[in-house]
């Protein structure tokens, strides 16, 4: 994975030189360690700032919505699935896109790492299997596998499902992963316990909507939470309004979410709202055998009617 940066630069530089695309969307180093940010390169010179490492957790499909120009985009497994969803939902045309596929070897969780070291992190470097963190007065070495984002640890689609160029050979996919162990644990609780669990989970929410903004699925011109005529949901921090926001946000992503983890990553208070989207993902898989964004030819689960659709909840 460490050689990806050079290959991405080479491909991006070539595409821009040949004028095959107007812009390349990739990552560059952020101003803080472990905070890579999107980079929009429009000239061959600008590709020098492109990078690839284990901090590229942002979902770049988010920046493709309604683009008019020809764009090349760097995409890992989950991004590519969101690009598929975007194409199916007519948010961008396939022929506008050149997808630079990146076989992903998982992203690291900056919160986990910050919790594991004392003091401000000044520098983070990595090898294939380790992460070295430097603070003002100490250095720590972590096993990369121990500090992964949860969604990456549970990922079963690391290779892009759709691409025009691939920066490296596909990586081995993880198999035998139990993606929904934690969801089943919650499902097993009683109604009161569930209520308390989500009260605790959502209590820190400040309604900043970073989760919504980071999500490539959330592209409505006016989001239901911003609407004031009619006002669907209260705008304050009343627990029930917070709940409605998270509940509906998750529902809008039903059958579309690829569990890229951008929402959780963007959250300033570290709420694991992926529990909600993953519950819906689990239901879609169990009820309709559907996984989002795997193919351009299949209509999404909530977009088709089949005579054998399960309807046990209807009396």
């Amino acid at each position: 994975m460490l050689g990806y940066t050079e290959k991405i630069k080479a491909i991006a530089g070539r595409l821009l030189k040949e004028c095959a695309v107007d812009m390349v969307i990739g990552f560059r180093k952020g101003t803080l360690p472990m905070m890579n940010e999107p980079c929009f390169a429009t000239t061959p010179e600008a590709v020098e700032s492109l990078v690839w490492d284990s901090n590229c957790g942002i979902n770049l499909a988010n920046y493709l919505t309604d683009r008019k120009e020809k764009v090349a985009v760097v995409a890992k497994g989950c991004d590519s699935r969101n690009i598929v969803t975007h194409i199916i939902e007519n948010k961008i045309k396939r022929d506008q896109l050149i997808i630079i596929g990146v076989p992903c070897s998982a992203m690291i969780d900056r919160r986990k790492i910050s919790r594991m070291v004392a003091g401000e992190i000044l520098e983070v470097s990595e090898t294939e299997a380790t992460i070295k963190v430097k603070t003002a007065d100490a250095e720590a070495l972590f096993d990369k596998a121990a500090v992964l984002q949860q969604n990456c640890a549970l990922c079963t689609h690391r290779n892009p499902v759709i691409y025009d160029e691939l920066v490296a050979d596909p990586v081995a996919e993880q198999t035998d992963i139990d993606r929904y162990a934690d969801i089943r644990d919650i499902e097993a609780l009683s109604a009161t316990e569930k209520r308390d669990y989500f009260d605790d989970l959502l209590q820190p929410c400040i309604r900043c909507y970073a989760c919504r903004n980071a999500c490539p699925l959330c592209y409505c011109p006016t989001c239901f939470v911003d609407e004031s005529k009619p006002q669907w949901v209260g705008k304050g921090q009343d627990p029930i309004d917070v709940r409605i926001f998270h509940f509906l946000r998750a529902y809008h992503c039903a059958g579309r979410c690829t569990d890229c983890g951008a929402c959780e990553r963007a959250c300033p208070v570290g709420i694991n709202m992926r529990l909600l989207t993953r519950k819906l993902e689990k239901d879609c898989q169990e009820e309709f055998g559907w996984e989002a964004g795997l193919s351009l030819d299949q209509r999404p689960a909530l977009d088709v009617y089949k005579t054998n659709d399960p309807e046990t909840f209807i009396k």
Binding site: R195, F247, K315
Partner: protein, 52 residues
């Protein structure tokens, strides 16, 4: 809704044709009985500010 802690008996779905009056009555009876049994909704409610 159930995952977030709504009591399973509070939320019901049914498909009733306009010709199925007896089914309508049956379902309404069932729903009211079940909801009465668990009592008023205390948790998924919001106290609106009192305006004088």
């Amino acid at each position: 809704m159930e995952l977030m802690g709504m009591e399973p008996d509070r939320l019901h779905f049914s498909w009733i044709s306009s010709a199925e009056s007896t089914k309508f009555v049956k379902v309404v009876k069932e729903v009211t009985e079940k909801v009465k049994a668990i009592g008023p909704n205390q948790h998924f409610t919001k106290n609106t500010a009192k305006v004088a």
